[in-house]
Symmetry: C4
Subunit: 287 residues, 4 copies
């Protein structure tokens, strides 16, 4: 299937739909359909359109919300990206074309394969560091969503090599250790970007089975079983970094959650993640 | 009295009324009545509805405002809760069902007994840590309102075990000492949550007769004779923590209010609490 | 002249005009007249009203704006106050009745004499610390406007006794030294408030000929020849405190403006004060 | 050509068009034409108006946006300025008359020559420090846009003489070193302002071939080949200063980007600058 010229224009910056002048609901409806178009190969063969995949449409809607929430909560700025594994095909994931997260609409969400291609959208400009996502999805079958961020408070920890530790129950998920991925140790001199499958694999290896890895001189990657987990962990990794730095500055020994407290606290918090997720989505939607 | 299915739906997340599209006044009116329904047992027996309890209705309105004010002033985020003792029945208190404070409306405010049950609302999901409230109300007849918060600047003090002290007259109420409740010392390994009456009693014991106790790896509890006091103290505990950390970083001896200054300053400020309370409520109501 | 009951109601909290629902211009016009009423003693004697004093009306308008600007720029919260010397009578000054600065309208601005009375408004509740203003106006004929503030970044400097010094040209006015007024040294145990003429004189003496004095455990007082100077200095005293603390934390010797640089920079900046003043007023007015 | 009285009024503060009550598009259209008027000398000779110079009009529009973006992103407040070299005449540059950046409209943008005169606008009040711009444009043919800023986080570094270094890839452009220009070393006692061509040359010499120079006790100057580069570098110089200070406070050795990493990262980022630029412009325009 080839992208029509109309589709190509739709993905160009100059024709970006003005996200604020249409209702968000309109965009989500339109976008969810657009994102599904490449999936319906039967249509190209003249068959009637399949019924929309509701699960995918809802996931695209949540992915758009996740982009906006992460900006709202100070985790992403004009850079960084968030993805979700495809609900039906584990070898694919959904992520925006290369775009500032605040501007992402459902129409910008494209299917990527684990090698970093978006075969249904040959004309689209993709994020340079999409290999972060593909290689982690490949290495971690448990992962359903990934955030790559340059959140401000984590940068000093990555640069100084100071390990993040859980200062309170909200960030109990940090308890298993937060490795610092130093791209120079892995690959020598680079432009700091995870722009190849090999670099993506090196990062995935550093991450191991954990939810967060810092990236020296760059940012972090945060993963979870689904978008609410990945977004929650991104927000509270940033908060933990800020508060841990403040606690260290008080000049006393800091008492972090111990392993058992963290294990139990993470399990207890797990049942409440819908609360911030729904709140953040409402705020991001201006409701 | 049983909760009707209509009531149960009313308390479900999916049917949450859109707080912004109705006027706040409408919601408060409707909600205050809804909150009073379980109180009118005469109604179940076929008697005509009693005249609304105006004192309770006004308190519910203030409790809803307190939820919004505490978010607005950076004390609560998607977590934390605030309660007020019932104006007519000292063995009960008013608090929202489990909900992000920003989303609380009067319809979400339920009567709780000191054992942590909300008998009039058997279908409602309650805050896991409601035992904080019940056990402190039981131990402290002088307390009329309680805030449990994860306000950011206090977390480092709880983790480092550094005592908060009153750096200026606005936080003179801290002068009697701010204990740090370490749940591990009280109960060994836990999930950090005050999820049982026994843990609530341990926290109440640590608090003693004071207005604030930090909770290591978790947050704080703040109490007062009424909502304006509890909210004021929550806001200025957070501010004091931030400013005390900055003062300590200057590397000189910090001169805190002495006990007599604090006693007098707290008494002097007491007469002015209506000023921030009215301002904060107006701001939270968007007026 | 006695205050009528209508006037007394006008100054009560419950009848406070809703600042947002009337246009600010309406309020300013109405308020400027109301503030002038006590001045027109001829009216009580049956004479026709004098023509409005345009200079005073404009000053009241600027004083209202100064209240809002100081909140907007993070210098005042629900507390603190700002005054201006009366343009025609040096022994009087204009200041709001006791009210959160954000809520001040022209109708709240009352004439105070230097002893802290507002003879034209016997029913009005006045700021407890109005003696700060009266005693400084008495001691400093050059002063035309005064701000008393609890701006956050200055509190640590007052508590630690660390002198503020001008870290850049914007705060060159700090160069002559910033004394720390310790009310305990002046008057023993107090409630920290400058609530008597004697305490006001002690503070004025500590201030001397300078533009700023810190108040240990409390805040600061900032003066200037007029409102734009006093507001500008309040904003940049707060900024300087924040930046000076950050510079000290870098662990090197900090190079402040020397006395001659500061003298010249302050003179150079003096001609530009209209720029931030007009900008801040526009922002505060929502334009 | 002489400025008409109408033009002079147009540039006075009192007749400043209310930026919020007209649509920004209206102002940009009107302003772009106004800014071009002095260029059309043929018109004074009675010839029909030349076709508008579209390149210049677009640059004026971007310059207005740059002013607003720099305020929005916390780089400028009521002070500081941004300029762009004239697209057709390398010996001239475009910059607002002396005005708070937030208030700049296209009608305020004037052509300046490298000596700091705006010959087409003899009545206009110009920025005192316009010699920063003229002398750097003269010394650096590669420079197309300049920002002079007092961004808060950089002030401590200038005062303490601590060199800024690139803590992550976003600020890789800092890698060549960030000199601190001490005006006292260059010119003895001054008012700290670069208010003469000689001081402008001294600053340009300190800057050398680099993109950023700090100015002790004052701020910084940031340059780039065009407005998106200069704005991007201004924003991330401020962010880097904040994060570098935090990293240094952690008490470990901080690992900055090495020269080769920085060279490659800067090249890699270069292709993405349109992303923040378009986002920031949309936000500043309220879209």
């Amino acid at each position: 299937m080839r992208t029509t010229s109309a589709t190509r224009i739709q993905h160009g910056m100059s024709s970006l739909p003005p996200a604020r002048s249409l209702s968000r609901r309109d965009l989500l409806r339109a976008g969810a359909l657009a994102a599904l178009l490449p999936l319906r190969s039967a249509r190209a063969a003249g068959a009637p359109p399949a019924a929309p995949d509701d699960r995918t449409a809802r996931l695209v809607e949540d992915l758009v919300a996740a982009n906006h929430v992460l900006v709202q909560e100070g985790v992403l700025d004009a850079y960084g990206h968030v993805s979700a594994r495809h609900p039906a095909r584990a070898g694919q994931y959904l992520m925006s074309r290369s775009l500032a997260p605040q501007l992402v609409t459902a129409a910008d969400v494209l299917e990527h394969d684990l090698d970093g291609a978006a075969p249904g959208h040959p004309g689209a400009v993709l994020y340079l560091e999409r290999f972060i996502h593909g290689e982690i999805y490949r290495a971690r079958p448990d992962v359903g969503a990934i955030v790559h961020m340059h959140a401000p408070s984590i940068i000093p920890f990555g640069a100084a090599g100071e390990p993040l530790r859980p200062i309170y129950h909200m960030s109990a998920f940090l308890s298993g250790g937060v490795p610092v991925f130093d791209i120079r140790a892995a690959a020598g001199e680079t432009d700091m970007l995870v722009r190849t499958p090999a670099l993506g694999r090196a990062l995935a290896q550093a991450l191991g089975a954990r939810p967060v890895a810092l990236m020296r001189g760059h940012g972090a990657v945060v993963v979870g079983p689904d978008l609410p987990h990945a977004v929650f962990r991104s927000v509270y990794t940033e908060v933990n970094a800020r508060l841990q730095a403040q606690a260290m500055a008080l000049g006393r020994e800091v008492k972090y959650l111990d392993a058992e407290e963290a294990r139990r606290a993470e399990a207890a918090l797990d049942g409440t993640l819908g609360r911030p997720w729904e709140l953040w989505k409402r705020k991001a939607a201006g409701r």
